[in-house]
């Protein structure tokens, strides 16, 4: 009785705390509103969308081949895996088969990206729980991997290295050697992290029994990837629907039992070792051969055979035949260097000093007046007029190069047409299942491009993981589901 009255007088209210979108521990711009009773979480409401850039809508305005760089910017932590996911989906839509070597290389870089993603995850997860040094150790190895990425494509994060139909270029031999050295050394580095935290009493107290989620519930909520496997569901798309070269390597999938933060942590640590193994197997088996499919309908022509850039006869000069020129002004408008001048209905002229050898005039001219003079670089206009011949009388190899160039122009301008239909293709990125759903209406651009982002689903599971725990466990929960807001919001 007395107690009841006392409760009436001392009415307690929950305190609602707004966490983010600017908060050091929310991995970007996630916003959480926590209703707390003392230090216990009563309710969590996540708010996302602070990084929504409209990639899906933007993808509808670009051709299938142009939208590839957008996928890097989704999950910028493991851009390579996202690229691969997109490329695999588009290849399936077009019915292209990448060559064997390209598939192997893609699998290698995909697993590298998995390692680098898990390293970043471990680093930030440990930093959130307060273990500062693990953060810096992880970044040491991550830098190594990023240097390797740089070696093959020149970029560290947003790589855009896999292409539809293969990969951008073959990997250099030094890359494979360096990577082999990395795989040699990496297991000992994993041990190093584990000595810091694996059996650390504080770490165990902070992770064991926190954020438990059962297998059925996890599947029902749509969790995927290591987050799901920590609960004991053996769902891994690399095994369920093998793409690229995953059916040619042997690896195990780590599965947890209780589904708490510690299990998910262990799963990812074991995945690091498995990925390391996969890379080693693939390097040993790497077959020789081309790295790009040869399909004139869907694949860009090889750059080294194309006209202006690295053609064997480099000292080309472009010239407009006076007799054939009708003075329509098309080339003048198209010229990016503004090197072409001339009155209307009078023959135009190319200022050789300004010309950048882009061959735009060659492609745009409808009257076959613009031509190319092999070995004509640095010659005067009179001399060029002497040497110049009509485009259809040019030597055979230059003609071919020119055709390739025209093909590229068409390709970039319109994009190859996809067959009509719809397709959902999922791949296993480090964070979970990345799905691409295309609706094609038979044109060069997707009618609808849908990205199924694992982070989006995982973020929606946050309330389920946090309620009933303490404020500090929210941080651990955000870490354990491994979200990147760029992917979550798209």
């Amino acid at each position: 009785m007395v107690q009841k009255e006392a409760e009436k007088i001392l009415e307690t209210r929950e305190l609602s705390v707004n966490m983010g979108p600017q908060h050091p521990a929310t991995h970007g711009v996630l916003r959480l509103v926590l209703d707390i009773d003392g230090e216990t979480i009563v309710k969590v409401t996540p708010y996302v969308g602070y990084l929504h850039r409209g990639i899906e809508k933007l993808g509808e305005s670009l051709s299938y081949f142009q939208a590839l760089p957008l996928t890097d910017r989704m999950d910028y932590v493991s851009a390579m895996s996202n690229n691969i996911g997109y490329v695999v989906a588009v290849e399936k839509l077009f019915g292209i088969e990448a060559p064997e070597r390209a598939k192997f290389i893609r699998t290698i870089v995909g697993e590298m990206s998995r390692i680098s993603n898990h390293l970043l995850w471990l680093a930030t997860h440990a930093l959130d729980i307060g273990a500062m040094t693990v953060f810096l150790y992880c970044f040491r190895e991550r830098e190594w991997l990023l240097d390797l990425f740089e070696m093959i494509c020149g970029a560290r994060l947003t790589v855009t290295y896999p292409r539809v139909g293969g990969v951008r270029n073959d990997v250099p031999q030094e890359f494979l050697e360096s990577l082999w050295k990395f795989t040699d050394e990496f297991p000992s580095r994993i041990l190093e992290y584990e000595t810091l935290i694996d059996q650390n009493r504080i770490w165990l107290q902070r992770t064991v029994g926190i954020g438990i989620i059962s297998a059925e519930e996890a599947v029902n909520m749509g969790m995927t990837g290591p987050t799901l496997r920590g609960s004991g569901v053996p769902y891994d798309i690399r095994k369920h629907k093998p793409y690229d070269a995953y059916d040619k390597v042997e690896f195990d999938v780590p599965i947890g039992t209780t589904g708490d933060t510690y299990d998910r942590y262990r799963c990812r640590m074991l995945e690091l070792r498995q990925s390391n193994n996969i890379i080693r197997q693939l390097i040993e088996k790497l077959p020789p051969g081309p790295v790009m499919a040869e399909d004139p309908k869907f694949i860009l022509p090889p750059k080294d055979k194309m006209m202006p850039i690295t053609h064997p006869t480099k000292d080309l000069a472009y010239f407009i035949l006076e007799k054939a020129c009708k003075g329509c002004g098309m080339c003048m408008r198209a010229c990016p260097a503004k090197a072409i001048t001339g009155e209307k209905k009078a023959p135009h002229k190319i200022n050789q000093a300004l010309c950048v050898n882009c061959a735009t005039c060659l492609v745009t001219c409808k009257f076959k007046s613009a031509t190319v003079v092999p070995g004509g670089k640095g010659l005067s206009d009179e001399k060029l007029a002497e040497l110049a011949v009509a485009p259809d009388q040019l030597p055979e190899d230059i003609k071919q190069a020119q055709q390739l160039l025209v093909r590229q122009f068409e390709f970039i301008k319109k994009g190859p047409k996809a067959p009509e239909g719809e397709l959902y293709v999922a791949t296993e990125v480090p964070k979970g299942e990345l799905g691409f759903y295309f609706v094609s209406d038979g044109t060069g651009k997707p009618f609808r491009m849908r990205l199924r982002a694992p982070s989006f689903i995982h973020a929606s599971c946050l309330p389920r993981l946090c309620v009933g725990h303490l404020v500090a466990d929210v941080i651990a929960a955000i870490g354990t589901i491994d979200i990147v807001l760029g992917e979550c919001d798209r």
Binding site: N220, M221, G222, D236, T258, L423, E433, G435, Y437
Partner: protein, 193 residues
Amino acid sequence: MAVTEVRISIHTTGLDPKDIAEKIKGQFPDQVIEVAEFRDQVSVIIKRDQVVAVLKYLHDDPVLSFDHLQDLTAVDYKGKKDIRFEVVYNLYSTRYRHHIRIRAQVPENDTKINSAVPVWSGADWHERECFDMFGIEFTGHPDLRRILMPEDWEGYPLRKDYPLKGPELDKDWPGFTDVLKRSKELREFDWEG
């Protein structure tokens, strides 16, 4: 607390998606409109009235057991089809490894469909996103609010008639334009070297 490494086979043993489509047809003969196939993926187009019943059947049936909702989204077929919207469910069974796609038609003048949250709780945010991007209302959804865009945003960005570059500056989201105006006012206090 124990994490073990298991070897999963890579051979899929699931049902043929065409058989699944037949099963659905047998169970709900008046609901199925069409069955489409493209590159080994089968999608079943159904009416929207019984959509939750169909989904529940797919989820609960012991042979099918579609426990994993891979994706839920909508497509705007403006100018292509008579019925403008379609809500797309991509389903997968983690146990039997088969896949099916369900497409429910939603007309433009009455953009309502029953929510799939009772079947898969993971559908929650997917449906909110569909509401946000297409304006499709999911009746029975526990908390249907905008998710990616600000809550007082006007228009549905992923509809085909929405411009890619968004509204003009004077019709833009007030939260944004207010800040622009205020920062212009505050600019006079900035220090200039």
